[in-house]
């Protein structure tokens, strides 16, 4: 139960972060784990680096180039964030 709440919380924080870049607002409203940043949210690929910078700032973590390349969906981003947080 606790895990589920954390997951919801994480998705909501991600939603706030990607919101300025998402051009498909309907997909943003119904954001879930499987949501793809480019295909579903229609985020301009150039803005993916901005999303990652905003994530770094929000969670006070540093995301390396390898991890960055994986962050194309909500689920992948959550995994990266959780991994980086556990390293702290």
């Amino acid at each position: 139960m606790l895990n589920l709440m954390l997951k919801e919380d994480l998705i909501n924080r991600l939603k706030t972060i990607v919101s300025p870049y998402a051009q498909n607002k309907e997909a943003l409203d119904s954001i879930h784990e499987e949501t793809d940043f480019i295909n579903d949210l229609k985020i301009n690929s150039a803005n993916l680096v901005d999303v990652i910078l905003d994530v770094e700032e929000a969670f006070d973590i540093v995301i390396d180039n390898d991890a960055m390349e994986k962050m194309l969906t909500v689920k992948a981003s959550m995994e990266v964030i959780e991994a980086k947080l556990s390293e702290k």
Binding site: P20, Y21, D50, L53
Partner: protein
């Protein structure tokens, strides 16, 4: 047969007026946009006055998306987008909402140094080993063609989209490049314009060259004094001007309002030979540019009613008048009326030609001649060449038929355009 070319839309973001209405009213009133600049004072500039368009967040917001305004710090792009979008709307042209761009509509929008404040932020980040923190917007805001890239995307242009750059002749050159493209039938509409960033990092180099005045820090509005006996250097300015240039056929077919006709013009260089140098114009080239412009436009020197000069308020002003006198072979009371905008705006550098072309077109269209402010006493060398009456100090309500406008730039380059009041064809 070559297309006839007309101007059907205007936009302006100038130190003494943002938007056409405010700008025209400032022109008629001789209103100055030069103010004391605290930032220049704090940075110990010799010249602590400047011309900057007065803009607040609510003025800017309608032109950009919220996303575009995140980490946005390029005043040149800001001014250029505002002037460009305004001119497009003024021309009654649509924004392309379709999936397809407008293939016959293009752009020549000039810029000099672009996005210098964003560039400065980026340099600090890079030197602090934070290149990865730059984000996605540095390139777009600092590339010289950034202004064209932002504007053409908003308008959906599908013809040539280019940024020209030729120092202080950029704006006038952009109008002539647009004219050529339409005349030759390669486009039916070309948005012409130019923009210039403001601030210490743009102006510092000029301050160091001692070409800006330092004598009027306590009376900013009197600082820019082109053609005056006590002119002592230019006042740095900034902003953007935009003109929608269109084939006459295309304009008539869609029932557009026509501001003026572009009859032709010329661009050349003095090659930094003879009396020309990196910073001084070769008079032979300037005179040749003016003569060639008239020749190309099919206009004789006697037909010129009004000159809008470059006239920046440096020691070069008298030389410029001599060049006009020689090129037109007219002097004294035979000389046309002449004016310069720079007394009100300062020298808007890259954007000067475009802002001044907007001012020129407004004079033709609305039948007035704006005053040369701060020129109570013209320089004696100038009065040896032309009659004092030819330098209006008050607004004249007078119709001009032919106006000639020139801009000159560092690198010994010149641009000169001939405009004609448009007369409706006889029904």
């Amino acid at each position: 047969m070559d297309n006839r070319v007309v101007i059907t839309g205007l936009g302006v973001v100038a130190p003494n007026g943002v938007g056409l209405e405010a700008f025209e009213s400032a022109l008629r009133a001789g209103r100055s946009g030069i103010r004391f600049d605290r930032e220049l004072e704090e940075l110990k500039f010799s010249c602590q006055i400047s011309g900057k368009p007065q803009l607040g967040e609510p003025d800017i917001a309608p032109y950009f998306s919220t996303l575009e305004l995140r980490n946005f710090n390029s005043k040149g792009i800001m001014y250029g987008v505002m002037a460009g979008m305004d001119s497009w709307k003024d021309a009654g042209l649509p924004l392309s909402e379709k999936d397809e761009p407008s293939w016959d509509y293009g752009m020549v929008f000039g810029s000099g140094t672009s996005g210098i404040d964003r560039f400065r932020e980026a340099i600090y980040d890079i030197d602090a080993l934070n290149v990865r923190r730059l984000g996605s917007t540095v390139v777009l805001q600092t590339m010289n063609s950034g202004v064209s890239a932002y504007l053409s995307g908003k308008l959906g242009l599908g013809n040539q989209v280019i940024t020209n750059s030729s120092a202080c002749s950029t704006g006038t050159e952009s109008l002539l490049m647009a004219y050529e493209r339409i005349r030759s039938g390669k486009a039916s509409v070309v948005l012409s314009g130019a923009t210039s960033d403001s601030g210490p990092y743009i102006w510092g180099g000029f301050d160091a060259m001692k070409v800006c005045t330092y004598k009027y820090n306590q009376e900013p509005e009197h600082g820019s004094r082109p053609m005056s006996s006590n002119a002592s250097g230019f006042v740095p300015g900034s902003g953007a001007g935009a003109l929608v240039v269109e084939s006459l056929d295309h304009a008539l077919a869609r029932g557009a309002r026509i501001y003026a006709e572009v009859l032709g013009g010329h661009v050349n260089s003095g090659g930094q030979r003879g009396k020309g140098s990196m910073t001084a114009p070769n008079p032979v080239a300037v005179q040749r540019c003016i003569r060639e412009a008239l020749h190309h436009a099919g206009v004789s020197a006697d037909e010129v009613d009004l000159i809008n000069g470059h006239l920046t308020a440096t020691a070069m002003d008298a030389l410029e008048i001599r060049n006009w006198v020689e090129a037109l072979d007219r002097c004294g009371t035979d000389f046309p009326l002449i004016n310069t905008l720079k007394g009100m705006t300062g020298h808007c550098l890259t954007a000067a030609g475009s802002i001044e072309c907007v001012a020129s077109v407004l004079q033709l269209y609305s039948n007035f001649v704006f005053p040369n402010v701060n020129c109570e006493e013209p320089h004696p060398e100038i009065l040896n060449l032309i009659d004092s009456e030819k330098i209006p100090r008050e607004t004249l309500n007078r119709q001009s038929r032919i106006l000639i406008k020139a801009s000159f730039g560092f690198g010994d380059i010149n641009a000169c355009v001939v405009l004609k009041k448009y007369a409706e064809p006889d029904a």
